[in-house]
Symmetry: C2
Subunit: 365 residues, 2 copies
Amino acid sequence: MSESAKDPQAHDAYRQAGVDIDAQDRALEEVKVLARGTFTPGVLTEVGSFGGLFRPDLNGLEEPVLVSSADGVGTKLMVSAMVGDYSTVGHDLVNHCVNDILVQGARPLFFMDYVGAGVLDPSKVVDLVRGVSAGCRENGCALLGGETAEMPGFYRPGDYELVGFIVGLADRQNLLDGSRVQVGDTLIALPSAGLHTNGYSLARRVFFEILGLSVESPLPGGDSTVGRRTVGQELLAPHLSYLDCISPLLGDEALHAMAHITGGGLTDNLPRSLPDGARAVVDLDSWQVPEVFQLLVGAGRVSGEEAFRVFNMGVGMVLFVAASEQERVLAHLRSMGTAPWVLGSVEQGADGEAVVYRGGSGAGH
Amino acid sequence: MSESAKDPQAHDAYRQAGVDIDAQDRALEEVKVLARGTFTPGVLTEVGSFGGLFRPDLNGLEEPVLVSSADGVGTKLMVSAMVGDYSTVGHDLVNHCVNDILVQGARPLFFMDYVGAGVLDPSKVVDLVRGVSAGCRENGCALLGGETAEMPGFYRPGDYELVGFIVGLADRQNLLDGSRVQVGDTLIALPSAGLHTNGYSLARRVFFEILGLSVESPLPGGDSTVGRRTVGQELLAPHLSYLDCISPLLGDEALHAMAHITGGGLTDNLPRSLPDGARAVVDLDSWQVPEVFQLLVGAGRVSGEEAFRVFNMGVGMVLFVAASEQERVLAHLRSMGTAPWVLGSVEQGADGEAVVYRGGSGAGH
């Protein structure tokens, strides 16, 4: 996958750690196959050269703009280590990055990954890249290269750092930066699939310390624990990509802005698309907060204020849409198989109350 | 610098760790100032939005190709922690990435960084970004954004992971991929400034375990230790960027390929630019291996074979040049203030002997 994977130091460290070097070479081959499986027509290079080469298709673009983002998976990585399944967090990472540039109006071109560990276990590296590769394929995004770094003593045994970097493309005239948002716009929400990649430090504290559960425990609550998903399954639920269902709306004048609900929750992410003098009003009665968040809020004694900043509370993505076009946008989103709802609207507002929560139990807001 | 720096979880963790939140906010402002100081005309965005926006200048390019690379600093990071100076490794990282895409014929457009730690110390994050920012300014490369991640329990106190991603631009017709290299080409070397960013696990073992030195110890050897640099200074010597001196040669027909001498050394990096049936012949009498490598090889009882794979041995970059043009290229490089020399040449060769070392003491090769 990278030059350092061929570093003889790595080989020495493998030898000392009793790792089969043939296994490592086979893993490197597997990684190359996984990356090749993501290649799109723009890719000019084989994996393994100094840098990846990508020829963007600029046809029809008046003023091409590259949109880029870097991200990690946070302590969801520690859950993957607890469960012993490293094959899904890479998918989370790609989807997270795709959404981060999607909200600016960009479609992904390529992705680069970084895997760091104290001693690299070839099969775990392959699993991590398997997830990255699956995410890249889902989003039509080429895995152009990456780096694996072995840093003895820097990471704990079993811990893997995974960092991703995405580059996408947009026409400047179609960039979304919040400048089109107007008072009166409708906020349309798309559901998340769980915690996505935020709030894991608190979630781990609640499940594993306060509730004393393990990753194998059935998720508490409900009438019966029969057939319920485990805590580990719930916490590793994938971060959804919204590219497929939103991509047809890019360049549509009805779409004024978007907000990807990550760290900071609705409270911190909605204001990033708000013009001065406007506030987002969120109707807490417009959706049922999923059970896992209710559980976390209850068992962790998390205030409503904190909950809406630490967790996405079931909202993965918010679209700011011209009110007159909301039915058309909702119909399109439903036709893509998602379950959108009207979350609220943009109102006139003074400084310091960028997001106002209305309705619900009244607790915390 | 990034969304997660505004994550309330980070604030909570800061509070628990006794870190002043005002200090953190001031640090975030400093990071933004440092990033803005690198901005080039292509940058369209302020730092802090979901993703960075960059409008590449495509004028005069027939077929624009993006060239991208990801890298870390490896265990040089641990030396920075031992010395307590986090302000230089970011510069190493940028220069490393710049060289990695330079050897493919690309000039840098922008850079993204990732900083991970157990608990982020705002002043150390600022120092890390200060180094990244200095590297970006040196190379005319915009620091377009990044991510800071706080992962309690994942990193040891004082340890910081630093990962970088670079995107550069080249015209397809000027890409260097080794296909122009011919038997008879001259290898021209440019000196490194020390270990650059490779071989640190072995170097740390030799200096701190075998020799029992500290980062404050004067570098051993020579007639006198008066006025000598310390072990820490030697190990933190910056990874050089070769962009300025090589950039005027991009598109020059005399330049057939380049090799950035990183992990794998001359032994593994030269072959990446060799066509089938060719080998690189390196004349060991053509340069004096710098003292630090001699010290490492001697005290660490490192074989010649291992040394030329783990360390750069004083060679930071190799240019594959048409023999008839070597004097012109050497003159250009000297005019840029560097001290190039003829390292060897490309000869006909069979498989399995991609690099042949001639001359020297005869040891190991």
